[in-house]
């Protein structure tokens, strides 16, 4: 999302700049003045954003790039240590654990979420009565899902002897609450993200509405069944939307923090047994609780690079499975 927001004002600057350039036709002086005035106004209105970008985003990012190669405890002057933060990281069992937990979360959570979103979107795409209500109802969890309060509710749902535990017992599973079980806790976190499938669902739904009905009609005439129609028409036709959703959700999943932090019981560093110690949780713990800001900066940059690489791989792979309509690309 931020990419889109960030890109928009840049386009604005460019387009208004283009107006100002010497055109092939002579521009009357009055018009020129007016153009310049508008430019000035545009830039002035833009300035809070530019100042914010430079001071609050670009500046700190560059600073953290430098800090990634230093030993910095927030108080003393940063000491240049080269790549040591990175070598320390690879040898740190807790860091390794955080990578494993994050990968588990991304690899299980993202496909499940997209699958559910697509499934529900397919159901909601049918012409039934009260579809608007269902759409709103299925989207609702995504509106409140990212909040702290839901993570707290989730924590109590999955506690010992709470709703989920009782339901398990009905089926004869004496597993206990998931929150206290180091083996199960990550799944309660995964379920929390899967439950918030509303945003990709709405995008899928928009994609499904774009698929021309003639294609289905023609396929039906040729005797294609439901599955065949889905596989050979729906899926290729919505593959750009699927790609977009996959990209967005993957990037999102790598950055999960709030829900893991709350579910982990705050002070206890995403435990027990580091069971929901996602990458950003460990980063926060090292930077803000243990005061190892250099190490935390190195972790942040490695995450940025990793997410960048994953995005690049996804873009590269789309040639093989994403179908764009002629001229739509």
């Amino acid at each position: 999302m931020t990419h889109i927001q960030d890109a928009a004002p840049e386009r604005l600057v460019k387009s208004s700049g283009a107006q100002d350039g010497p055109g092939p036709l002579a521009v009357p002086a009055a018009l020129k003045r007016r153009g310049r005035r508008e430019n000035l106004a545009g830039l002035l209105f833009l300035s809070p954003w530019v100042v914010g970008l430079l001071l609050l985003t670009a500046g700190p990012m560059l600073a953290s790039l430098y800090l990634a190669f230093t030993d910095y405890n927030l108080f003393d002057t940063p000491k240049w240590i080269g790549l040591q933060n990175f070598t320390d990281m690879f040898g740190d069992p807790r860091w390794q654990k955080s990578v494993r937990v994050t990968l588990q979360y991304v690899v299980i959570g993202t496909p499940l979420k997209l699958l559910l979103a697509l499934g529900v979107a397919l159901l909601l795409n049918q012409n039934r009565r009260g579809q608007a209500f269902y759409r709103a109802a299925f989207y609702a969890p995504s509106l409140i899902g990212a909040s702290v309060s839901i993570a707290i509710v989730w924590r109590s749902l999955f506690s010992d002897d709470a709703v989920v535990d009782r339901a398990q017992q009905l089926f004869g599973m004496e597993a206990g609450g998931w929150i206290s079980n180091p083996d199960m806790k990550i799944y309660s976190l995964v379920l929390l993200t899967v439950w918030q499938f509303g945003a990709p669902m709405v995008i899928f739904l928009a994609g499904l509405k774009q698929v021309p009905n003639e294609l289905y009609e023609a396929a039906e005439v040729d005797g294609a069944g439901t599955w065949r129609r889905f596989w050979n028409i729906t899926l290729p036709m919505i593959s750009p939307v699927l790609f977009f959703n996959l990209l967005l959700e993957t990037i999102h999943s790598f950055q999960v923090f709030g829900s893991a932090y709350i579910l982990g019981g705050q002070g206890s560093s995403c435990g027990p047994a580091d069971s929901v110690l996602v990458y950003t949780c460990y980063l926060y713990d090292q930077g803000f609780a243990n005061g190892r800001m250099g190490f935390a900066s190195a972790m942040a940059w490695l995450l940025l690079i990793t997410v960048g690489l994953v995005t690049a791989v996804l873009f590269w792979s789309q040639k093989r499975w994403v179908h764009y309509e002629e001229g739509a690309r």
Partner: protein, 427 residues
């Protein structure tokens, strides 16, 4: 913008003016908040704790402001871990609260970073009195000749027990009882009553510190850990055996019932904690709780000392005099003790100790417990922990939990702890 209306200069200037004003307001809002205006001085005071502590503290502040109408106190509080995260960020940004609650594990850490105010000058200036402290507490906040923290209330490690469970098992813990007596007792309770004898001490740094002190060592020296990998391996092996045999509570269950304590939930018949925390059990559980002495190795030495929460000032405060007056009021004023009770431990000065006579049995128990260990002569002194001790304590608790849950072996856990401690202590 652009195609239809034009923007005239006046509205442009207005817009610019408005945004500048907003920026200015934001900047003013970000200011430290401590300042003086019209002869009135405002100081910021922060502590960790929950709502009930906040209510009491606000009452004491009202008393203070009444006595010192020219000093206003702005308050802020969080739970323990969040408090220190926030404090570290504020202190590194050069904007810590003027006066704040402090503990032994943070004195050296923040002294090294030049965050703490040396209160000796204020004592000399007569703004802060160091007279009338109980049992050597006046020296508790001294590091390398600097006076960095003033104790507000003393506490000591204790064993809180379910008295009925102990009685049923026929065990009467007495001062001087040994670890062997303790372990035998736990087994008796477990065998006879099908509950764990203890919630499990293996991750509590302060309990292990006492065990080490009984052997002439300590958890921390001035700069480093005071024990070896072999020492810790022995302690955690013993702990893990206890978990397996059931004399310690199932760590999964302990995790599940949080924030409730294992003892008050009926999982166990006892647990180690600070004596002033024992108030929580009566509030949480149904049992008949009491304080038992710390088991010893030689039948005499418990390794105990009087610890205390402290009040410290910021080295960057613009109002050191007012900070000293505030601390002085909070530790000496009898009316403050009547409000605070034993919330932060047994009041550290005799004036406050005498002012509050507890009427409930729990608080009476705490008072009797501290009097008992003081008169028995088992109290030792403690060296302030090295910088990084707080990180070590958190790592100790977390890794011990991993070991007791069986997700990490004892050997691996010990190695992990020593590696993390090395990073934290910078050794």
């Amino acid at each position: 913008m652009g195609t239809t209306g034009s923007v005239d200069r006046r509205s442009l200037l207005k817009a610019a003016g408005a945004s500048l004003a907003t920026l200015g307001l934001t900047a003013a809002g970000c200011g430290s908040g401590s300042g003086s205006g019209g002869g009135t001085v405002t100081i910021r005071y922060a502590w960790w704790g929950a709502d009930d502590r906040a209510k009491k503290i606000n009452q004491t502040i009202a008393l203070f402001e009444k006595k010192y109408p020219k000093i206003k106190v702005k308050t802020d509080f969080q739970p323990y871990a969040d408090f220190w995260t926030k404090f570290q960020t504020q202190a590194s940004g050069g904007n810590p609260p003027d006066v704040f609650q402090n503990a032994i594990g943070f004195l050296r850490k923040y002294n090294d970073k030049h965050v703490l105010l040396d209160l000796n000058a204020q004592v000399k200036a007569g703004n802060l009195s160091m007279d009338g402290f109980r049992a050597g507490l006046d020296a508790f906040g001294e590091v390398d000749g600097k006076l960095l923290g003033i104790p507000v209330g003393s506490n000591s490690m204790s064993l809180v027990i379910d008295k009925d469970a102990y009685r049923r098992a026929g065990i009467t813990p007495k001062l001087g009882w040994t670890w062997d007596d303790y372990y035998a007792g736990l087994k008796k309770i477990h065998d006879g009553q099908h509950i764990a004898g203890d919630t499990g001490p293996m991750g509590i740094m302060y309990v292990y510190d006492l065990v080490l002190r009984q052997a002439g060592k300590a958890f921390f020296t001035e700069k480093d850990l005071g024990f070896t990998e072999a020492d810790l391996t022995e302690w955690w092996n013993k702990g893990f055996e206890g978990v397996k045999s059931g004399i310690y509570a199932d760590p999964k269950k302990v995790e599940q019932i949080k924030p409730k304590a294992g003892l008050s939930d009926g999982l166990s018949a006892g647990e180690f904690t600070w004596d002033n925390f024992s108030v929580r059990y009566t509030a949480e559980g149904k049992g008949n709780y009491g304080l038992a002495p710390i088991p010893s190795t030689d039948g005499k030495t418990t390794g105990q000392y009087l610890g205390s929460l402290m009040l410290s000032g910021s080295a960057r405060t613009k109002h050191p005099k007012e900070v000293a007056q505030f601390i002085n009021f909070m530790v000496h004023e009898p009316a403050v003790a009547k409000i605070m009770g034993y919330d932060r431990g047994v009041p550290s000065t005799t004036a406050q100790f005498d002012a509050f006579k507890p009427s409930d049995t729990v608080a009476q128990g705490i008072s009797a417990y501290e009097t008992q260990i003081a008169t028995a002569g088992v109290l030792q002194t403690i060296t302030p922990h090295p910088a990084g001790a707080d990180t070590c304590e958190a790592a100790f608790l977390r890794i011990a939990n991993d070991v007791s849950l069986g997700t990490s072996s004892v050997d691996k856990g010990v190695k992990q702890f020593f590696s993390e401690a090395k990073t934290a202590l910078g050794t």
